[in-house]
Symmetry: C2
Subunit: 345 residues, 2 copies
DNA sequence: CTGAAAGCGCTAACAA
DNA sequence: TTGTTAGCGCTTTCAG
């Protein structure tokens, strides 16, 4: 039986190794390594022989082995909430671009807003020895990452801060953005404004609610309990919240939507109504311009880029205390936020 | 100097290994391995001692080493065009879910519609020894993957077929979908219909154009050269194409948009016009329902899921000849496609 | 039930 | 310029 055929089945579908190439080219193992990695110190003639052997054998360097030896994987992990959410696509892409510029690959996974799954994913990535980790937290306690960070896994949190540990974070100004949005509605004459947001355990949800309350308070407006609804962002729940706030003797005249999922459903829910209801949403949405939806825009790509750049700066050995970077948001008036309250109100 | 401190710097930020755990627990290396992997044959007492050592040292198994030994990486690669495109988000997420169900992680990268970058990425993933590869081709020649596939990297193409090699592919019915869309416009009275699509080297672009031509021919309608425009899908180019087709003595009365990027720009370009122009777009878009945009919907998530399932079936050792799976598309009438031509036409 | 030894494919260090 | 040796941290094999 031939040498090659005797190899154990588990060997990556029996791919040739540097040893095989060396044998074929009649050179030493290290010479093959030199050629493969473009190191100096190989005669053109030797190099050619090695190259031929590589071609004919279909050799490709096994990076698993390389990684084991070098101690760096040239890959970063990204744990986000849902790759299918239009907010995370551009963010993810931006991280990828930065990673690529640094010669690293991106491994990413969705937590589906489940803290356990977030942890499972993040730790799996650590076990793979990613050089760095970018996390959009689903959970509120990240002490589980402390040993990993101490052991050298650079970690940056995005969109939401880490819970119970001190770590880098890149955030949008949820509080300020939402305060500005609500102030905008107030400036257009509204007094009864509803807030529909994500689950209260999500940092951005409570921050945006805080912004809402701040704007109301600054205008000396009381907030009734029935005007605030936090919870999952599935269409049913949001639709019910909208309906509830618009019913009764004293309905709200305007709505502030806490994120893109809420905005989309709110727009649909409001579409069929007799009297127009003012709306401002957090996050920009594709085609919102055509629908005239006023939004507080945040730059998802900038969020990802900033976080990734910070990560690679850490990987390059820059030592600074952990810091939070907060990116500004922009109010984009497009019509829905400028609808005045009905005269009767 | 202590043992630990003497370790070379490159060792993953000096993380403890099984050897360290073994020393600490006063057991053999293999016993640690058994505990870590939940293998049978360890006394509860020994197990407890090992667990304690693991905790106190903050040990986490190094999967790089494991992979090297086992020959399987439990990861799959996904090469797509642009993670930021709303079409690829759900596709990517679907692949991820299937991978997760099989205990695998997802490494993904964007080719930015550049064939060289596609190849570079795909081969980098092969070097990492991903168990399988899912590729949304940017290029038209995938012979470069042949050695990898022969060497055992299961590969499935999605959205577009592989070029010049025989391989599995999961596609949407671009031809049929676009033929149905154009036939729909014809049924609503249009005779002069424009087609704006992606670059001609992209398979789906030409297939959709073919569907357009087929529908026109079936209705015995001639197609003027100026009614067809293929090219990059950036807003400027598309906007110019729209303007051109709607100018002159005999403008088109309806447009068929070849993909979601084109549709979005076309809708914007048509928004300001005096006379409404009929429009059908390939791909559904968020909020298209509210804007009344008639589309040929394809199921991006199903595309990803189907491809990933096929991939894992191959990884499980199922041997079948490569096949193409074509998923049906759905015409969703919402108004824009049902606008009749102006009486003058 | 437990552990020692070999080796996965590569790179670093050192010889020749 | 080239080759040899010794690991990287783990799993496999096989012997206690």
């Amino acid at each position: 039986m031939a040498e090659t055929a005797r190899r154990p089945e588990h060997r990556y579908g029996n791919r040739p190794t540097m040893k095989d190439v060396a044998a074929r080219a009649g050179v030493g193992l290290k010479t093959v390594s030199r050629v493969v990695n473009g190191e100096a110190g190989v005669t053109p003639d030797t190099e050619r022989r090695v190259q031929e052997a590589i071609e004919s054998l279909g050799f490709r360097r096994n990076d698993s082995a390389r990684v084991l030896r070098k101690g760096r994987t040239a890959s970063v992990g990204l744990v986000l909430e849902d790759l299918a959410d239009p907010f995370y696509g551009p963010l993810s892409r931006a991280v990828e671009e930065v990673a690529r510029a640094h010669g690293a690959l991106l491994i990413n996974g969705s937590s589906a807003e489940d803290p356990e799954r977030e942890q499972e994913l993040a730790l799996a990535l650590c076990a793979r020895r990613v050089d760095g980790l970018i996390v959009i937290p689903a959970g509120q306690d990240h002490r589980y990452l402390e040993p990993e960070m101490k052991a050298g896994v650079a970690t940056v949190f995005v969109d939401r801060p880490a819970g119970r540990i001190d770590a880098d974070a890149v955030l949008s100004d949820s509080f300020g953005g939402s305060r500005a949005g609500v102030a905008h509605l107030i400036a257009h004459g509204h007094r009864r404004i509803g807030f529909i947001g994500d689950q209260p355990r999500i940092h951005t949800a409570t921050e945006r609610l805080r912004g809402y309350r701040a704007a109301m308070e600054e205008a000396r407006l009381d907030v009734e309990d029935s005007w605030v609804s936090l919870g999952p962002t599935d269409p049913e729940r949001v639709r019910e919240a909208v309906t509830a706030m618009l019913s009764g003797p004293e309905p709200v005249t305007a709505l502030f939507a806490g994120n893109n999922r809420v905005t989309v459903t709110a727009v649909r829910a409001l579409a069929g109504r007799e009297h127009p209801v003012a709306l401002v949403g957090f996050d920009d949405i594709e085609l919102a311009d055509l629908l005239g939806i006023t939004v507080i825009a945040q730059d998802a790509a900038a969020l990802g880029r900033t976080a990734a750049e910070r990560l690679f700066r850490r990987l390059d050995g820059v030592e600074e205390p952990p810091a939070q970077v907060v990116l500004k948001t922009t109010l984009i008036p497009r019509g829905s936020g400028e609808i005045p309250p009905p005269p009767s109100a």
